[in-house]
Every structure is written in C-alpha cells, then in structure tokens.
Symmetry: C2
Subunit: 257 residues, 2 copies
C-alpha cells in the first residue's frame, strides 16, 4: 500500500462494510455499494473490498478490525439509528478499544432537530453517542450525524441519507487520480472476441479491460470497459479495441449499448 | 456452528462472494446478493456474510479460503465466462490445491450449444474448465454450466443466469427451517418507538425485530420486521407489537407500508 513517499501514482484504497440483517435476508436491495463506489472513484480512491455483515457485534468488530488496517479508509453503512438493532457505534468503539460518549455537538443538533417534534428521548439520544474522540459528519436530511474517527466513516443505511453524508465529505479526503473508464459496446458474443480483448489489455501498461455480457432484443452482446488512471491511455486503447472489433466484423458503439 | 449432532434447530449457514471489478467500480448495480439471500432463505439456509472482491486472484483465494471453512456453504457469482478477466475457476482451484481440468460433460454441453454458432474456440472452451473433482450446475439459459465442488458453488455473474443455476439447485442442499418474517408498517418515527420495539423483541426467545425507516408522502415511518424460525411465534410477537403501536397512537399496517 505504501509507495515510499512518492505522491505520484499512489493508489488510495477503501473498504466498505454494509451492516444489516435486511440486506442478508434479501428483504432490502442494497444501494449503498454502487453509491459509495461511484463517489469514491470521483475522489480518486479505489473501493477494494466490501463486506456485508449481520447486526451482530462480533461480526461488525471482526470486519472493522480486518478492513480498517488493510485499507486507507474504511466506510460503514447502517446501524446508526435510534433502535435496539443499531449497534454500529458500540461495535466500532469496542473494535477501537475506546469508550462510547455522548457528543455535545451531536446532542445539540438533535435537540434543535426535535425541538418541535417532541424533544429528545432515550432512542433519539442514542444517535448522539459516538466512540470517544470522534468527529461528526453533517446530515442535513434528518439531523442525526454520521461519525468520523481515525480512518473510519460511519454513515446511515438509508441510501439518500448516506448520499448526504458522502456529499459532506466530498473533497475532504486525500486521494489519487480518479480511475477513468471508456466503454465500447458491440453485439459481439464475448466468447468470439475473448482473445482479441486479452491482446488489447496486454498491449498497454496500466490498463484493465472488463467485459460485461448482455442480452438485448434477442441478441447477445457485451460492453467492454477500458479502465486506467490516464484518460489519454484509456481512450487510445479503446480506439484500438474498436478497430479490432470492426476488423472482426462487429460494429463498435462508443459509450456502450 | 455445530450443535452436537442434534438435527432439530441446527442452523445452516452460507456465505456469498461477489467477484467483479464492475461492482466495486460502481458501474454495475449488484442484484445477486438479494437474489441469493432470498433463495437461501427458502432453502432454510442463512446468509451470514457477503464479500465483494475484485478480479484479482489473491483476493478471490483469500475470500474463498476464509469463507468456505467458516460456513456450511459458500457461493460465488461472477468470473466464470470466456474472457481473460474470468479467473474464478483458476482462483478456486488454487484455493483448494487442485488442478484445473476440462470437464468432459461441460465440453459436450458447450459443443452442442455452439454447434450452429461457429463451434468451440479457445474462449468458449475456457467455460468447460473446472477445478478437478467438480460437478456441474445446469444452465438452460446460455449453455455454460455452473460448478460445484465440496461446499463451493460457482455461479454466473449475470443475474438471470445465476437465477437459473439457483433454480437447478433448489431442494438439493441440506437446510433447516426457513426464517419466517412478519412485517408491520406504521407512520411512526423510529425514534419514538425504539423502547417499545426493544421490549417486544426481548419478550420472546428466538425472535429478532428489524426496524427500517422510510420517508413517504412527506411523512416519516418505519417497517418493523419480526423474524423467527417459528411462524406462530413471529405472528404472535407481530400481533403484540401492533397492539403496542396502536396504544402509542400509531396505526399499524399489516404487511408493511
């Protein structure tokens, strides 16, 4: 992960822990993986691993300790609300070996937010609890803030609240060059162009090509995604791939199908 | 995980490894987690953990070896197609310490499937490669089979092909009692009913209650999901929870909002 102090080319990495029985039971379709991934990419940070874990303290502690030490940043979604199944703060505090405290600013935010909604109660006050030493991540949507401690970022599970928290963090984290992707689509069966793709990928250093098949209007095709930190290189390899596809008899569609 | 040989109440667990850069880049919205979770639940198997890993051999090997040993079953999706970025078979073979061989039945299936589509080529033949000792999982959709070896099940990444493979496995795996869930919705802010929920959960052994907030028509509410292996118990606790919500001034909607 270290690059010996050279700023150029340093790859910044992140992991995401999605916390919640509702994802593992299939009840709720996760939206946070794609949302966090897309946002991280714009920050120049690469999402390297995701784990989905249940609302069980040891499972959260295990994932937090495995991932916060192996990546530059570690995000979590879920489990920071007011109910008994919201145990992320307690689990993270245990993982870090620190106490849980009421954050005065979070308490003040919640008091203001609930002033004409019945005031604070035990459940609402839970949302002011943080691992000792934490800072807050603003949440304009529903009052209760996210939490930042060390390289850990604890966010809401509700996707549009998580989006607000990501928005508040935009530009705040050190990152490298965003990964640029150029997509080409073709009604070409993957299995007929596999060798051609492999050649295109090997042609240039620092380029990865992903191949994603689809079925559309009764026809088989695939989108080919050329990824690189260097936009000019990605464009060049994509151009060469387009030509190779055309030569093989497949019309290439810039931007994908 | 062991229950000392008692068949009754044995909880069968599974893990899922989603393999693919396209999920971690945010390009593709994952659909397999919810699909596999829902299917497992019907088989009486509990999905305990999901990991999303990139198309990197060591990452796949690490996840496979961590999860196949800690759960009854381990499923993977993605990376079993014909292209250079499809490396699941090689990674799993390395994880298990076995060779990669061409499965004669898989080869015959692919020869038949491609007979009027140009026949087999190097890329297509890749899809007949399996870790030595593996059996096949039928795929009526697109020929190329899934792969079963030990407690590992390697499936396609394209969700409707993965669905076909799950369908072929239905009823084949040992499982326990499916987890039953009963949902109640209310326009009740979670933060006002947190204590009431906690009481309802603690009231009965073997019941978990999840609370999932929503915003609808400008109002705040939540769905409360009562989960148990015993349907009668889930119904009873849900009924008591409904009454408690009504007493607190919130109309409870059976089935959720």
């Amino acid at each position: 992960m270290s690059n010996g102090g050279k700023a150029l080319g340093r790859v910044w990495t992140a992991a995401l822990i999605v916390i919640g029985d509702e994802i593992l039971s299939g009840r709720t379709q996760d939206r946070n993986i794609a949302q966090v991934a897309t946002w991280l990419n714009v920050q120049g940070i690469r999402l390297n691993e995701v784990r989905v874990v249940p609302d069980i303290e040891e499972a959260i502690i295990g994932a937090v300790n495995a991932l916060r030490t192996s990546h530059d940043y570690c995000f979590t979604t879920g489990g920071i609300g007011p109910t008994h199944d919201d145990i992320t703060v307690d689990a993270v505090a245990k993982a870090l070996g620190v106490a849980v405290v009421v954050h005065p600013e979070a308490r003040a935010i919640l008091e203001r937010y609930y002033v004409d909604k019945g005031g604070l109660n035990e459940g609402r006050l839970r949302m002011a609890r943080v691992p000792e030493g934490a800072a807050l991540i603003p949440n304009r949507m529903s009052g209760a803030p996210g939490i930042r401690i060390g390289n850990l970022f604890l966010m809401a599970g509700v996707p549009h609240i998580a989006a607000q928290m990501l928005d508040a963090l935009t530009g705040q984290l050190k990152g490298g060059r965003p990964l640029v992707s150029v997509t080409i689509g073709a009604f070409a069966p993957e299995s007929e162009v596999a060798e051609l793709l492999h050649r295109a990928e090997r042609s240039t250093e620092g380029v990865a090509i992903g191949s994603y098949p689809f079925f559309k209007d009764g026809r088989v095709g695939a989108n080919f995604v050329v990824r690189s930190e260097n936009e000019a290189v990605a464009e060049q390899v994509a151009g060469e791939l387009s030509e190779a596809l055309e030569s093989a008899g497949f019309a290439a569609v810039a931007g994908g199908i």
